[in-house]
């Protein structure tokens, strides 16, 4: 450490050019929990970094509220040493984060400092690009419709609520229903989608327990997913300022890859905590509270963040940034303030329900109120062919199941439909950390919807599914799985091969 400081000082002293200049200054007049009020600095810019001269050295703050008589700032450093009367100087710099390929595989804080103990992210002499945390979303002309799938590896989602590259899909549900598991599986599954560019995956942990973040990072490492992922962490122990900045920092990193023409995927876990942090900061800055004590610009806080997820036009490089924000509900109340805001901002929502979770349906997806507004535009042709029927059969089953509860005696046709629905339900179940490649999902849905599981009892469906997939991998990789993976289409020839394979499997 001492050696580094001396080296840095030596270099700076060697190249030091004295610039005699007058600077604008201000003074701290109020210190709160992570916020300060300053008088002076009449020409300060919003989002400008300020340097507070404390007795323990300079501390950085971010200018947030520019008022008539004072400037409300957010301390992004240790705020305990700041005292009333301390001098504040402008730096002329807007808050930004260093971005580059070097970030892949790393765990950093929202200011770009490494948290994984692997040393500096960027080499000492490099001059990495800096992206502003607050940036304008791409304009209408810079975008194109979402048309490329981003497979999650989760059967229920890929079939019924498809997500496209550049889409914003909300994951909503109570605590402990598997919201983070969906994000984790989606990141792991990107290795399976070998036909398309592997997106750079960014997991933004806001106010999460450090143990949970470590577990997440370890799981990514274990499955080799850290090769294309990075984590921006503002753990529960960090100040509200970092919780507030984390999603913007993650987004700025995602934009670097998007603007380079690559695909990026970002998960914000979760925006409820982000809203809490912003509420805390706003109340301390004495901004007028509104509904549930959130400030008036809470909608804009999230809309400006999520609008930055986009699929860019070919002229702009054709990159994409897909966002999967997570929001936590209390006792399934989707009509609360933050969830309704996010539902209206995003292009659809994946709704997870506690009741379904405890019934053993995992992922605990409520298909009825989950939706993807991009729809089948983000599905391969093969998936489109099987998924339409799947959704219909599933919704018919849910309806019949509700009626069947009241009458003990149902006709044969209804009983058959219910049994088929139960089998579909079984097929849709999936344990975590086992995302499925899309070609296998297609084969499975084709089999269950075309009566190949008729002779199998509901209890045996999961074992049969496993056996079928093993069988297809062993004997039909070249004529079924490989063409499906390569072309994404269920052509006549492939369908015939699949039918024969399923027939032979049924006979076994």
């Amino acid at each position: 450490m001492a050696y580094e400081i001396i080296e840095k000082l030596k270099k700076e002293i060697e190249g030091y050019h004295e610039k005699a200049e007058w600077q604008e200054i201000g003074r701290v007049i109020e210190v709160g929990d992570g916020i300060i009020k300053i008088v002076g600095l009449r020409e300060v810019m919003s989002q400008e970094i300020l340097s507070v001269n404390t007795k323990d050295g300079p501390r950085l703050a971010l200018a947030l509220s520019l008022e008539e008589e004072s400037v409300g700032s957010l301390v992004i450093d240790d705020y305990l040493s700041i005292e009333v009367g301390d001098e504040v100087k402008r730096t002329g710099e807007i808050l930004s984060v260093e971005v580059g390929e070097e970030l892949i595989g790393r765990v950093i804080d929202p200011l770009g400092n490494p948290l994984d103990g692997l040393g500096p992210v960027f080499p000492k002499d490099s001059k990495p690009q800096r992206n502003f945390l607050e940036a304008k979303a791409p304009s209408v002309l810079d975008r194109e419709p979402v048309n490329t799938p981003l497979h999650t590896g989760l059967k229920a989602i890929d079939a019924m609520i498809p997500i496209g590259r550049g889409q914003r899909e909300l994951v909503i549900g109570d605590r402990q229903v598997g919201k983070t598991a969906i994000v984790l599986d989606t990141i792991l599954n990107q290795r399976n989608d070998i036909k398309r560019r592997t997106p750079i995956c960014i997991y933004v942990a806001i106010g999460q327990k450090e143990s949970k973040i470590v577990k997440f990072a370890e799981t990514l490492k274990k499955f080799g997913a850290m090769d294309y992922s990075l984590i921006v962490a503002a753990p529960a122990s960090s100040p509200a300022a970092l919780w507030y900045l984390a999603p913007y920092a993650g987004c700025a990193i995602g934009e670097y890859f998007r603007d380079k023409g690559e695909d990026a995927f970002i998960a914000y876990d979760d925006l409820s905590k982000h809203a809490w942090a912003y509420r805390q900061i706003s109340l301390l800055l004495r901004r007028p509270p509104g509904r549930e004590a959130y400030p008036g610009d809470i909608f804009y806080l999230h809309s400006r963040l999520l609008e930055r997820a986009a699929k860019l036009s070919k002229e702009k490089g054709g990159g994409s940034l897909t966002a999967l924000p997570i929001v936590e509900t209390q006792l399934g109340d989707v009509s609360a303030y933050i969830p309704t805001n996010l539902i209206s901002i995003t292009d659809g929502q994946i709704y997870l329900e506690s009741d379904l979770f405890y019934e053993g349906l995992r992922p605990a997806l409520n298909v009825g109120i989950s939706v993807s507004r991009v729809g089948s535009a983000a599905q391969t042709k093969a998936m489109k062919r099987v998924a339409g029927r799947l959704r219909l059969a599933h919704s018919q089953f849910r309806e019949l199941q509700a009626f069947a509860q009241f009458s003990s005696d149902v006709d044969e046709a209804t009983r058959k439909k219910i049994t088929e629905g139960q089998k579909i339900n079984e097929v849709l179940k999936q344990s975590d950390l086992s995302p499925l490649p899309v070609e296998k999902e297609v084969c499975l849905f084709y089999a269950v919807l075309n009566g190949y599981f008729e002779s199998v009892s509901v209890e045996e469906v999961r074992q049969t599914e496993k056996d079928l997939l093993d069988y297809l991998v062993r004997f039909h990789e070249s004529d079924v799985l490989s063409p499906l993976r390569e072309t994404g289409e269920l052509t006549g020839e492939v369908e015939e091969a699949l039918k024969n394979a399923l027939k032979r499997f049924s006979e076994k």
């Binding site: 840095k8 200054i25 003074r27 300079p58």
Partner: protein, 126 residues
């Protein structure tokens, strides 16, 4: 506190502008009586600071604060005297924290930082 120091200071500034400087002594006396009547005597110092601040913003006076690590003597003291204009308020402070050099602040808003500590801090922030 019936009124904030800023309001008293603003009212005095406006009254001085309207009534002219010849009535300044009477206006200050009246303000003093009013502040006492309102029970805001404890705010006198703050009212004065606000009043000076408003005069500074209006460009009527200039406050120069010169901070140094040690007491200025000889050529340095003379140098400071050359930059002080008639009517300026000059304040000298000693801040051992600066280690060496000096800092000149005008109206608590603009500063020339020629201290060694300021230069070292700058190296670490950039």
């Amino acid at each position: 506190m019936k009124y904030s120091p800023r309001f008293y200071a603003k009212a005095l500034t406006k009254a001085l502008a309207e009534e002219g400087e010849e009535k300044s002594a009477a206006l200050v006396k009246n303000l003093s009586a009013l502040v006492k009547k309102n029970g805001d005597e404890a705010q006198f110092k703050k009212i004065l600071t606000e009043f000076i601040g408003q005069l500074e913003v209006a460009g009527k006076i200039r406050t120069l604060t010169v901070a140094s690590a040690r007491l200025l003597t000889g050529s340095m003291a003379k140098l400071i005297e050359t930059i002080v204009k008639p009517g300026d308020l000059l304040k000298k402070t000693i801040e051992p924290r600066m280690v060496a050099g000096l800092k000149v602040t005008i109206n608590n808003e603009r500063q020339f930082d020629g201290s060694l500590k300021g230069k070292i801090d700058k190296l670490f922030i950039s």
